[in-house]
Symmetry: C2
Subunit: 168 residues, 2 copies
DNA sequence: TTAAACTTTCAGAAATTACTGAAACTTCAG
DNA sequence: CTGAAGTTTCAGTAATTTCTGAAAGTTTAA
């Protein structure tokens, strides 16, 4: 139920959220009919939900021998699930904005107001670009390194200033 | 228009997104009537939208001398805007999930299935906790330090392993 | 080639969410 | 006080999104 409520906040809709929650909590892979019965939703809805979850690269299909049904289970570890949601949301939420901003910044400002507007857009653009670039770099680090970095927290400042001193 | 379309992805609805976009792009503060005329939406809708933006701590009210009207403008710099959206979304999207997970983990598992479910929930809980804790630490760093860190990107691994060697 | 067993699609219904505009409320100058 | 100039609220309507279920599509064993 909670996954349903949160589902919409996390980028998909109620039933899709519930479906994913169910798959994560359930050890064995589930068939479409099992999902529809467990959550009391129509068979068609399950089919659309699975499609949605696949577009997020969050579920995988399995086949059992001697059984024509498809069985679904979460794709990858909890960690992978997090990076995928993160990545997909970036694609949907940030990338289109970034490309719109770029397009707008190519236009010559026609008057004072547009100069200001572009200044603001430019600032947003640079910020989004720095942050998404950084996020990409972090994702390319090994989970171990990333974990060390996170555990270090704001203590990282000290490490960086140490580095600066050494260089000098 | 784009801010409207993106609005819903970024956590608020179309008109609220448009309103905020307008305020950011426009140098002078705007009155409620000006906003409703610029975006072609009802006066009442503007009032509700402002309330919503205030709940995100994204707009501020100004008063002009000799004028009883309220004028609205974005609260804080682009950087602050980003951290606020980030923080508010964490509150709305992550915190409730975290507390639900905690509650569930307090229950004794009644059977094998619940043992597995709790194992999964525990993993999600720890991940969310680590990440949100880290996000908090980052936000407490000075923008300058944070910027250095971001520019360093995945090069940070090297700095950390350097530190480890020095300690040894 | 057939038909049983399954999946997908999609038009329309249901549910949810957003918007309007008129009425209620607030504030303040005179 | 009063009322003009503003803001907020909220019931009802409009728009959007989600869900259902029947029909169409697909796959495979025999």
């Amino acid at each position: 139920m909670h996954c349903g409520e949160m589902g919409s906040r996390w980028g998909f809709n109620r039933t899709v959220g519930q479906m994913y929650g169910l798959l994560i909590i359930h050890e064995e892979a589930l068939s479409a009919v099992q999902i529809s019965e467990a959550l009391n939703i129509s068979r068609g809805n399950v089919s659309m939900g699975i499609k949605e979850l696949q577009s997020w690269r969050l579920v995988q299909v399995q086949h059992k021998p001697k059984d024509r049904k498809e069985y679904y289970s979460p794709a990858g570890s909890i960690w992978e699930m997090a990076t995928r949601v993160f990545e997909e949301r970036r694609k949907r939420e940030v990338d289109p904005t970034l490309s719109l901003l770029r397009d707008n910044l190519l236009d010559e400002p026609a008057n004072q107001k547009e100069v200001f507007a572009q200044k603001q857009m430019n600032e947003i653009h640079d910020l989004l670009e720095t942050v998404t670039h950084w996020a990409g770099e972090l994702q390319s680090m090994s989970p171990d390194n990333l974990n060390t970095l996170m555990k270090l927290g704001s203590g990282i400042s000290k490490v960086i200033s140490l580095k600066d001193k050494l260089i000098k």
